[in-house]
Amino acid sequence: MSLSYAECTARERLALLLDAGSFHEWLPPSERLTSPHLAQLGVPCAFDDGVAIGRATLAGRTVFVAAQEGAFMGGGVGEVHGAKLVGLLQRALRDRPTAVLLLAESGGVRLHEANAGLIAVSEVMRSVLDVRAAGIPVITLIGGANGCFGGMGIVARCTDYIVMSDSGRLAMSGPEVIEASFGVEEFDSRDRALVWRTTGGKHRWLTGDCDELVEDDVQAFREAAICALSAAKPVTSALLETEHALLSARLRDMPPPSDDLDDAMALWQRLGVADAQRIPDIDVAAMHALRVATEAQR
């Protein structure tokens, strides 16, 4: 039976994605390691500060894992939440699991905690790069309703491998932030089709920002995560050159404004996707077939 990854809570994802019963939580809710900032603002805290961390097995191999709860403060990274992520990553340096999985669902820094949250996110980035440098892959799964934005969007792109569903979203500034900064003519945040065309899983996969595209299904995420266990991409100068080439190519391919196609569709067309208008309507299997066809053409 298919079960929506987006509809699950963070803890349900941990229970269903990892080997059954294998998750061992560190700093569980009963420790009451809660935010020192929220109560002053009249906001209730959560016993786990919106993230569960621990160790588990995935297809029998030891992994460290963190799952962010999007329903609590939009998955925002506060001081404690961030410290739990950093602690998990630093422990991975010591214990050397097969991989670290980040089940990311976050709007980025939890603004209530301001600088403490910003510093926390920068520490998470540094720790991700340390773990990668030690040869342990960090794998990000994105499929929650809140997407993966702001600082966590950057963290995701600092990891080795990203798995997204079609309904998952990944970006730096969220739709409302872009509209507030540049006006509704630039970006209409209420245009949901536009939001998914520019931040959704299909777009990220076509442009190479994510490595695997799956259906919104817990088992599909599990299988993709198992495949990703051996997908370490050590940060070398060659890798950085490739990444820079990808970004330069994207700037070069970025189409001029057109009345016929919107920016995202015009970009897909330039990437060699025939029938770019069809993309929002097709399923993941058809997307995979499309990429095979596109790569064969090249």
Partner: protein
């Protein structure tokens, strides 16, 4: 009547009749809008104590009624209930409490 800014913290205690065996903590629900999390833990003594932190101030009589109703259905003792609430309705609170009890070891589900 002016309600001070900030969270409201409420404490209740009920005399338990069915003393729970020691169990690992149970957590259900999420602190999201209109939702709450409920944690059950083993505690010394025979009482059922409840602590609530809520962003919706001024609803103590309703909490008391919902909890009294819950305790009538599940007169547990030796148990500590901790709740973080973000404006859940009484019906949601009742369902979450029932869900938490259903996850206790030995609960018939």
């Amino acid at each position: 009547m002016s309600i001070p800014a900030g969270l409201e913290i409420l404490d209740f205690s009920f005399p338990g009749q069915r003393i729970a065996d020691t169990f690992a903590p149970v957590l259900v629900g999420v602190v999201g809008s209109g939702n709450l999390e409920v944690m059950l833990e083993s505690a010394a003594g025979d009482d059922c104590t409840v602590r609530i932190e809520t962003s919706a101030r001024g609803f103590e009589p309703i909490w008391r009624a919902v909890l009294a109703d819950f305790h009538e259905r599940h007169p547990l003792g030796g148990i500590r209930i901790s709740i973080n609430d973000m404006g859940a309705t009484p019906a949601v609170v009742g369902l979450r409490l029932g869900q938490a009890v259903a996850e206790l070891p030995g609960a018939s589900s």
